[in-house]
Symmetry: C2
Subunit: 103 residues, 2 copies
């Protein structure tokens, strides 16, 4: 299983509308990518370690696919529409990680 | 649900023994923290975006708990034993993120 993780780095000027992300952006991604996307989840950063330190990421979204090719084929035609929605919920530039789930 | 994410930053000198991590370290964490840990997963970084760029993280581990307090209570007494095992599989200093799962 392949996981596409989208990390939004935390900083003092970070703005992130979690309600819009969960209720509008992620459903948009789900609608555009269709059933080839096998799952999705959203994390809200609440802290780091040592205790009291800020979360490295204010938020993260994760999308699951059977294969990297399945993601690329599904994402390519909709990349522009999905990217164009980002300024509607954040002023941050996301960092993308492509992972294989080992456990 | 609370997710403790442990990110291992990728770099040219990064060493990471995924077999040891999945077969020895994570089972050790599970055994020490007990049933208060509700789930765990491991990601292996395979790339970033744009295509061809390296994964920001060579690996990541995620631990699930019902509450932050449950994690802190379970982790505290075993923190030293868990940290002491890190050099057995990597030369990296992990970054810790505590998240609340929103979706």
């Amino acid at each position: 299983m392949i996981k596409i993780s989208v990390f939004y780095p935390n900083n003092e000027c970070a703005k992130f509308d979690m309600a819009y992300y969960c209720q509008t952006h992620m459903p948009l991604v789900q609608r555009l990518l269709g059933p080839v996307m096998k799952g999705m989840s959203v994390d809200q950063g609440i802290g780091g370690l040592p205790p009291g330190s800020p979360a490295p990421y204010i938020a993260a979204g994760h999308l699951l696919f059977d294969t990297l090719e399945a993601f690329q084929t599904a994402f390519g035609p909709h990349a522009q529409a999905i990217m164009a929605d980002i300024p509607n919920y954040t002023n941050l530039q996301p960092i993308i990680q492509i992972s294989e789930i080992k456990l």
